[in-house]
Symmetry: C2
Subunit: 436 residues, 2 copies
């Protein structure tokens, strides 16, 4: 049996979860890894604050140096944000400690430098909990898809926005009300910017792109759109036409070591797509690769226990699985994400009261001038009507054409990409003729 | 760089896929594992048969001894069935070779003995491809959920039956017709028994139970029901009430090292459950564990490339990941699966033509005698009507009560378990109050 001393930085949701899981599952971990993990010191800001885990009290300190000197081999960083987390991690490496962290912002912005520093000191940096909460997606990519070339990633990577969109769609409640409710329940932060404007999802996408495509992209360059502008009327009509609206993080690589495109923004998925039913606080990642075809991983994207699971699994893996051979690459060429081609969902609201017959008339008029209009839907919204179309091809110029041709007083006009036909239908097509 | 000689047994769908993937992805594998896998000999029954992979021709042999003597370190068994696969694997172990296999029947029936034999010879036996095709579920349980106690598994483990149910539900076509079509397309075998009667799913469940619960259960003792009796009318009414009917493999363990219950059979899942939208040839496994809460893995359950992916990943993992510490246990107590308690879906067909009003009347009569009837639906079927109820509690005695009380001439009466409320709703309930 090996004894490993752990220094824990932070005793919020993640830190508390890790402390409790190391205790409650000590026997399982010992049996399966022959390693006993002992938390030796816990760094906190306020040692007098009342804590959930009362037996942690005697381990608290406000001095990072005391953590480093407590006979530890691993630092678990559960503070979040850039500083002081980054300095603590660098000092931990310099002291010869491995580091496990859930810090997506730090990893997205400075992951490569930190990986290089860890390597130069002969220690490891693991960060499974930074993407997808409890979902072991980084481990799957690193250890279980080694013979596969991953060429596309589509993810629902933010639990707060997925919860808000699910509530808006199922209850017809506007964004502001659902956000306020989510804040009351503790599902959204007082300042929700990082979640609802897509920053959090962009951090996670940058981390996934580094591991799967070996692509180094400054996170500020990832095109990013949030969910503030989405209305319940849009969600209802999208569903009626057979689609779910999700905040998707999409990454694609064109050829090995080739350029990539990355983007975060609301998009439509057919209800037959494996991600379309991922609701509430769940996260999911759909990976497309050359041999396995496609794999979807679904799980709780945040919360004390799922996140603690990912951190504790990383602790075990420091001693059970081979260290990463990942060598951060030079900056990768980022292609603009496609704004034309593919299907597009158009949603608009107008003060006029329209019915099904009007919608059919609009559709025929647009088809008459050559626009490739598919399914069409109409619904009542406060003070008027909501109208939705699927356009089978898209060009940004169509916006102006649409507005001119419809001849309606339009209070909002949204256009959103429609992603991926059903993975099932694609698979059936590809597999036709071979045994199942 | 290490060179590893591989002997391939069988050149059907799986063997061909492995041969092609080792070639097409040789560079990726070499880069990530520093290992070059070379197929040295291929055992086939008929060396003169025309093959897809023409460059395999010079490697073919009909003599297993020639494979063993070709300077190999690993045998990939892709023949399937019990014999001669089992004898070949034993001889491979005796010759000091690792074995990678996709053989679910052999692993389900003799996995423990084979694991023990491998261990005694100092070699490894890996079999990721035996469950869930390309989905890396065994690797995830072994390497990425080490600190978790898995207590429940729910899986869609057979692609053929899932394809048939999906087609029946979407097109309203009866079982026999869809089966014949699936056989024509190559999605079902000429003798479909192993798939449609649930044997294949039971094999896979036995393998999952061994790894996740450390439970050794004779596969013949797993309660098993197939999909032959399912009618399109049942699928349509289930969906109208908010459920999908799936052939589910379910395993649960009661306490660590405790007894288990295992069963394969058709069951209803709420449409909000992450498995309910897994359609067509896709497979999925939903794992519930004490720290991570729940993880769902979805992917293609069969086919040349997904299966080859799992085999080739195993080949890499022989040299990259630590060998299994799994010690097969003594036989585990198998509890009968629950036949009472929980919700139940009742479906019956009658020659009488009934309408919505009749259904409401039936519901009120059943409620009047104390049956906990919930949602009710009615539909036209060939020669009469289909009627469906959800009973909120179930006792096998209710079947007789129902038949007596309804006073209808009933041509079929089906009762099926309703599994798991929405994982999302459960999670929201559990998480309420903590940050997302």
């Amino acid at each position: 049996m090996e004894r490993i001393g752990v220094g824990l930085l932070g005793m919020g949701t993640v830190g508390t979860g890790v402390f409790k899981a190391l205790k409650s599952n000590q026997d399982v971990i010992l049996k399966r890894t022959d390693t006993l993990f002992e938390v030796k010191k816990i760094l906190v800001q306020d040692p007098d604050k009342k804590r959930q885990a009362e037996d942690a009290q005697s381990l608290l300190t406000t001095d990072f140096q005391q953590v480093l000197e407590a006979g530890i081999q691993v630092v678990v960083e559960a503070i979040g944000g850039l500083e002081p987390a980054r300095s603590f991690i660098e000092r931990a490496f310099e002291a010869g400690c491995h580091v496990v962290t859930a810090n997506k912002e730090l990893l997205a912005k400075h992951g490569s430098e930190l990986e290089r520093l860890a390597r130069s000191r002969g220690v490891q940096l693991l960060y499974e909990a930074s993407v997808g909460g409890g979902i072991p997606v980084l481990g799957t990519m690193r250890h279980l898809l080694k013979s596969n070339r991953i060429h596309r990633i589509t993810g629902i990577l933010n639990g707060t926005t997925n919860y808000i969109l699910t509530e808006m769609a199922s209850k017809g409640t506007p964004f502001d009300e659902v956000l306020a409710e989510a804040q009351k329940l503790g599902y959204a932060e007082a300042d929700p910017t990082s979640d609802v404007d897509g920053f959090d999802a962009a951090y996670k996408l940058a981390i996934l792109a580094r591991l799967s495509f070996d692509a180094e992209v400054p996170v500020t360059e990832i095109p990013r759109e949030g969910i503030r502008e989405i209305t319940p009327g849009e969600l209802v009509l999208a569903r009626r036409l057979g689609y779910a609206v999700k905040l998707l993080a999409r990454g694609e690589q064109y050829g090995e070591k080739g350029p990539v495109s990355l983007a975060v923004g609301p998009a439509l998925l057919p209800l037959t797509h494996s991600l379309s039913s991922v609701d509430g606080i769940y996260n999911a990642i759909h990976l497309e690769a050359d041999v396995v075809q496609d794999i979807t991983l679904v799980g709780q994207g945040a919360g004390e226990e799922p996140t603690a699971s990912a951190v504790v699994e990383d602790l075990c893996n420091l001693y059970c699985l081979p260290p990463s051979k990942f060598i951060p690459s030079e900056e990768t060429l980022l292609l603009p994400s496609q704004h034309s081609g593919g299907s597009r969902f158009i949603y608009l609201e107008t003060a006029q009261h329209l019915d099904e017959g009007d919608a059919e008339g609009l559709k025929r008029r647009l088809q008459a001038i050559g626009l490739p209009v598919g399914e069409t839907g109409i619904s009542r919204v406060t003070d008027g009507s909501g109208v939705a179309f699927i356009l089978r091809r898209w060009d940004p110029l169509y916006r102006g054409v649409l507005l001119a041709e419809l001849g309606l007083e339009v209070s909002c006009l949204t256009d959103r990409p429609v992603h991926g036909s059903s993975t099932v239908e694609e698979a059936v097509r590809l597999e036709a003729g071979s045994a199942v």
